[in-house]
Homo-oligomer: 397 residues x 2
């Protein structure tokens, strides 16, 4: 959805600024406590062990305040960068220096947009694509290309065709439990695509925000880990889904040649990431049994997903979706109704989903909705699906 702009003085790029329906709906749910929202990508805030968090907070205030309450390095808190390099990346050239801590992975997208995208930059997106990437990149006005997604990754034939017929500079992809399609690239496609990106000299922006949310505890190797051109591949990660979005921290693995530029842009954007949060997260990573913590999150999401799946099958058997391997969403097709009408009816009846057209620069996916299952409790989910079913039946009679 494009923002409606008043006829006021502003830079030309602002006509390309996009608002997010998700953020608008998030606002509605904050204002209206009766609204049941499948819209946001909200992790469950109770997955973080409170006792450990309390004790970490106490120790940070007591023993680490000189660091935690100060400005910090624009690339991030060194101890945290080391932990990310050791625990949360799989590319073979990794070092703490290659990690830049960002204000959520969203800021990584903005910095990379600023770094790479001019009006003559050709940027390939997945179709559908993560809406936040459209928001981050659009003001820099690149030319967008799209490759259709299949359940095991991009359609390879079409990808090859696009790369052969156009000089693509950047490929932005979200290979694991993609937002919104939930599709995960197969191991084979990861390798083949890494190889063709090397051959065609394409910069990959690999968004791995959901990397650790596999329902069975599997971790796919990143596409970047298969690349030979390690100067042309960036990997984005996030603490939002594995610890808490409240700390607002993500990171980018930055190739050596781009590090000074990345840091200089970060400085101009906001000097440095939140130092207090960085120290807290670093201490949390020291204290939490990481494998066990991830397993508990994965189990939690897996169970929530099963609940939503069985509710949809029970109340709206017409709804179509494929079963994701991980993540926090279902990508659901509601056949034979207008997306706009279903959306409006749902909001009126106190239930929210994100219309599929939001995830496409050309507003495709007019039958789909993205449904989050991580936030609502079981009873709320049931009531929510009931409300959707009622609206769906009312329209589709």
């Amino acid at each position: 959805m494009k923002t409606e702009m008043p006829t006021i003085f502003s830079a030309k790029r602002t006509s390309f600024v996009r608002t997010s329906v998700i953020r608008e709906i998030l606002k509605l749910t904050v204002e209206n406590s009766d609204m049941l929202s499948f819209a946001g990508g909200l992790p469950n805030p109770h997955l973080l062990p409170k006792d450990i968090l309390s004790s970490v907070m106490e120790s940070v205030v007591k023993d680490h305040s000189a660091t935690a309450l100060q400005y910090g390095d624009s690339s991030g808190y060194q101890a945290l960068r080391t932990q990310i390099a050791e625990k949360l990346t799989d590319v073979y050239w990794i070092s703490p220096d290659s990690i830049s801590v960002t204000h959520g992975s969203q800021q990584g997208l903005d910095i990379l947009g600023k770094m790479f995208m001019d009006s003559d930059t050709n940027v390939l997106l997945e179709d559908p694509v993560y809406l936040g990437a459209l928001q981050a990149f659009s003001p820099y006005q690149p030319n967008f290309f799209s490759v259709p997604m299949e359940p095991d990754g991009p359609n390879f034939y079409l990808l090859e065709e696009i790369l052969s017929q156009n000089k693509i500079h950047i490929f932005y992809a979200n290979p694991s439990y993609q937002n919104p399609s939930t599709y995960t690239w197969s191991l084979e496609k990861r390798k083949r695509i890494a190889s063709i990106l090397d051959e065609k000299e394409v910069i990959l922006i690999e968004d791995e925000a959901y990397r650790y949310l596999d329902f069975d505890g599997k971790v796919y190797p990143s596409v970047s880990s298969f690349r030979k051109r390690i100067d042309l591949t960036f990997v984005l990660g996030s603490f939002s889904k594995i610890l808490s979005p409240g700390f607002r921290l993500g990171w980018v693995v930055v190739p050596e040649v781009y590090r000074s530029l990345f840091t200089a842009i970060k400085q101009g954007n906001d000097l440095n990431s939140n130092q207090f949060s960085q120290v807290v997260v670093s201490k949390l990573l020291e204290r939490i049994d990481w494998k066990e913590h991830l397993r508990s999150i994965q189990t939690f999401y897996s169970e929530k997903q099963k609940i939503l799946v069985s509710l949809l099958k029970e109340y709206i058997p017409e709804a179509k979706f494929s079963l994701p391997e991980g993540g926090m969403f279902l990508w659901v097709e509601y056949p034979k109704v207008s997306q706009k009408e279903l959306m409006a009816g749902c909001l009126t009846n106190g239930v929210a989903m994100v219309p599929g057209s939001e995830f496409s620069p050309e507003s495709k996916f007019s039958a789909n909705f993205r449904m989050n299952f991580s936030f609502l409790g079981k009873e709320e989910m049931e009531e929510g699906v009931r409300r959707i079913a009622k609206v769906y039946r009312d329209i589709n009679t």
Copy 2:
């Protein structure tokens, strides 16, 4: 200082990206614990009452984690926006809706740069100017104009001339205890300049990061508070100097016509500001005796300033500077030496200051250095000034 760019693919705007010597020096001081730094604008981390902070943290984790550990409104946490509107602004049209919470006031500068600045946008700066503003604005490639600063504000005659001879779109100013000159606009100049900006229809970006750091507890009315064109004036504030830079929070007072655009850009940049920090700061504002807290900060800075002033008079009587009314810097002229040589000698001898040329798009102020007095203790300051004096004498013999 321009970053040295590798010859690699990047957007055209990146050739305008500037690094900050301050951040480079900050990194040196982190790496070399013997380095005495007058360079950073580092507040003293011990000014925040630890007992209150501990108890606030405990209550946030215990009672407010559902809010604090979640995503939030892109414009900011509502309770905090209300407090800012009530306590920390003086423009008559204020409301919580006019406040957007940002990731430090630096992010406010980046968002406003993105919102307003094209290659044909004329931006007037103070001369010297806050380096972070140059970093934020430069990638958007506006045309910079400069108005020379006097101890009571911009030279009004030259300001009038610039505004008459050019269509200036934006004026970026830091009227209170300016960084780096330490100059403060007089009440009279505030009124006259507000009026001429109204007349010429110029957007004012008023950076009030130091607003509450007056040594005598005085608070100047903002220039924006005198403007009639309330659609053309933005005020930036910061918690970094009055609470802690570790929370990385600032705010922007945004005119109504620009609010939806500002929020949409904020979303693309990083979705929302750090929610945990916002809840903590909001609770701190509830708990701290605000007047007493500000007074203790002001007294602290006032005493630190006196110490540096007397050390400079004792060890380097040749050094020239005017006495600021507030803030955390002295703007010191070291006559008869090369800035580059003095800078290099200081770094070699374990003491850092920021060269004045950093604060000018044209690298003027080649005799000046900016010296911070808020961070170092008394003995460290003395040792630091001794080191500078030695280098100065070695060069200037």
